[in-house]
Symmetry: C2
Subunit: 466 residues, 2 copies
């Protein structure tokens, strides 16, 4: 594999996902079928399996995915890591295909296949030339409906997952986000890591994972998505046949798709400070607080706020911490929204001597924005940034497929790009001021990985003081 250029300067780019047109320069919204978005159609098969497609006839590729409404928050403490372990195991063979056959059939036509697990859902996908779509449908459906979960594969894969955990431990810029979730959410389903721990992964049995598979991979909780040069009817027909072959649609012809996840997870953590002492060159930190759920109407304003505060090179944090003072290479803000709660945080990585000043600057910005919001110009620029990046982010079939699946799993409906853009364009400086006061006005917590001297560590508590 040829490696990508390695010294790309990590200048952060804006959130892709929820966005908005820019008010100043008027421009028509993206016409359907041109340059990205196409015609979206949805069919519910007997058995409750949803199939959602977006046809974009101008491209030559197709992306296909199957989404399961199960994530690590569905695990008991003992099963922590089972969802992700299962995701690995579905690649390891079915009644009719070995692991090598699963991967080679897609790779030999130049396609790519992968999967990922989050706290609330799991996705398996392939991207191929449009003529190879039938192949991709067959293989991914086979994996999902007819996996063997053979005991010897479970054992071999345990080693791979323990290596993955070790790799994550070696990447503190990533690991500090897991720590931050734990700082704010504690030892709760959402606070635990997706990968599980060495202990829980060592404790997972073949039967425990197989039970988990049977319990959660029910057609009513799966969503099939395809985007690119695809034909809805053909996709539906192929998926139906593939699921029938696996016996996965039998028995419950009248079943309804499961509704989106709901929940009541309040977060009351404030002022917590977690430090993992590890010998690294940089100290990696997240300073933040509870955000809003993905169903909260304030999420549009919070996206605009996060973009203005730390969403790009022109954001406040990048300007104050990197451009003006050279204190960090990577600094940004981020939001995550779950069904019933959310997180807001600022990440920075810097050498230990810089930590005190970086935290002071972050806290200063949080306080100022909580009190005063952002000005009209910042609001306008952030809205423009979110809008443009949304449209630009819809140019590949993988992103389109991803949007379909996430919308269906998280909201149970498809919001059109126009609707998305309208929602964000409607955000006013007043909306931002309000959500800033409510979210950024909360007492922050802090998660740190790195090694500090006593003197440097003594400056941490001030960042989370009232």
């Amino acid at each position: 594999m040829t490696r990508a250029p390695r010294h790309a300067t990590a200048r952060p780019t804006a959130t892709v996902g929820r966005a908005v047109p820019r008010p100043r320069r008027s421009r028509p919204t993206l016409p359907r079928g041109v340059g990205g978005t196409g015609t979206v159609r949805k069919t519910v098969l007997p058995g409750g399996l949803r199939v959602v497609t977006e046809a974009v006839p101008s491209v030559r590729s197709a992306s296909f995915g199957i989404w399961a409404a199960v994530g690590s928050r569905d695990e008991t403490p003992e099963l922590n890591g089972a969802t992700h372990y299962l995701e690995h195991l579905l690649f390891k063979g079915t009644a009719t295909r070995s692991a090598l056959e699963i991967s080679s059939v897609i790779e030999e036509v130049g396609g790519e296949m992968n999967a990922f697990t989050t706290k609330e859902f799991t996705c398996y996908y392939a991207r191929v030339l449009d003529t190879d779509l039938p192949l991709a449908i067959d293989v991914v459906c086979d994996m999902l409906t007819d996996s063997l979960i053979a005991p010897e594969e479970v054992e071999a894969e345990r080693g791979v997952i323990l290596e993955e955990i070790a790799m994550t431990d070696d990447d503190p810029s990533d690991g500090v986000h897991d720590l931050f979730a734990h700082t704010l959410l504690g030892d709760s389903p959402l606070g635990r890591p997706v990968l599980g721990t060495v202990e829980t992964v060592n404790g997972l049995s073949r039967d425990g994972i197989a039970d988990f598979y049977r319990a959660h991979y029910d057609p009513t909780r799966l969503v099939v998505t395809a985007a690119g040069n695809v034909d809805h009817e053909t996709v539906v027909e192929r998926v139906r046949k593939a699921f029938e072959r696996g016996g996965a649609l039998s028995g419950a012809a009248s079943a309804e798709p499961a509704p989106p996840r709901s929940g009541r997870h309040g977060i009351s953590t404030a002022g917590r400070l977690d430090v993992i002492d590890r010998r690294t060159e940089q100290v990696h930190l997240v300073l933040g607080m509870p955000g809003v759920s993905r169903n909260d109407e304030r999420r549009w304003a919070l996206s605009v706020l996060s973009t203005a505060l730390g969403g790009g090179m022109s954001s406040r944090l990048f300007q104050e911490i990197r451009e003006k003072r050279g204190l960090a290479y990577s600094v940004y803000s981020h939001t995550s929204g779950y069904a019933d709660c959310g997180l807001f945080g600022i990440y920075a990585g810097c050498r230990p001597a810089q930590v005190g000043e970086v935290l002071e600057l972050c806290r200063e910005q949080l306080t100022e924005v909580a009190r005063q919001g952002i000005d009209e110009d910042e609001t306008r620029r952030a809205i423009g940034q979110l809008a443009g990046s949304t449209v630009l982010g819809l140019e590949d079939t993988g992103s389109l497929m991803h949007r379909l699946g996430k919308s269906e799993i998280c909201w149970g409906e498809q919001l059109s790009v126009d609707d998305l853009l309208t929602r964000i364009a409607a955000v006013t400086p007043d909306d931002v001021r309000k959500v800033a006061a409510e979210v950024l006005g909360q007492q922050p917590s802090l998660s740190v990985i790195g090694r500090l001297t006593d003197r440097q560590a003594a400056r941490l508590p001030a960042a989370v003081a009232v």
Copy 2:
């Protein structure tokens, strides 16, 4: 910034870049103007500035880049890191724009702007909606032709670069590739790191970098590229005006573009073993040897070989080390080709107790493939993988723009996708056997970052023994 799903299972995908149709399933090559590739045109402006565009009218975006034929191999030992430092500084302001203005003008329309530095070239680029292309051209040209390199910015940015070095030191899965280059190429221009070291970066002066800028950013050594919904004449005209405004085209109307870089860098290193002791969870290693230059006719066969050996989930190394034995999470082979030499290596990351067995398996594969090559089926699959991934990799305008620039800088010409596909389709198992014997048959060297017990370390020398 919303963070991407973090537990994507890193299943490697094939090399994008040079590729090939698959012989078994016949399929017409990609028609021009459909699904990615468009019409390529090139103009040389007075002053020797090349402008290359690829028009794809079916998309709504445009990518624009300027490439400079200068990289870290052009630095003296004292100037090591100057090319990359300069890349950072060009974002810090021109006679008419501050750093904030440079970034906000692109970000507020939702575009993204970035840059990267390699050992042989540097690239600055922006991706925007097609209607914003004039803006992107103006800003990127302004940065390249009229940078102030203000002394106070040089000082602030020094901190950012020292942070970037610290960050790389904290990512051993990346850093081990720098170490491998040094293991094989030593303290030579190609063996030194692109970022420089803490010592050289601290030693770089404003005037030294400004001299470097003037010496290397000459129009004859720059290439301008644009891809997407672009019009060649319009791009040429805008670029000409922008360069004239910066005074960058004056004085040498008859200048010819500089030819591609040549050189004579032989590598005779063999059997070297470099270990950096660092306390990490995983040990990160590269086992490899000299490869071939990017002008070497054997590069097509070596790409096929590398794909079959370690280019994806169905490759030999992935199957033997991960799928069957669960010894590593990430394992792959890679090639890099410079003007006059190249590297071939196998990367693996695994816990210390696994290192001995992983190295044995890697060495076994190297020996076996050097003796026997790969079989017809493996050759066919690897060719299909390279071909398909090449075509799929040309669906976004950023990739198209990147291909134009790299081709012009490295080969001084544009190879069409059809030509590319033809070159790789022509590779035979015999070609692969020959290059396998020549490249993989050499005595390997080994680079390691991590902490091993004495007993574990005692198994390293066998991996590089004759």
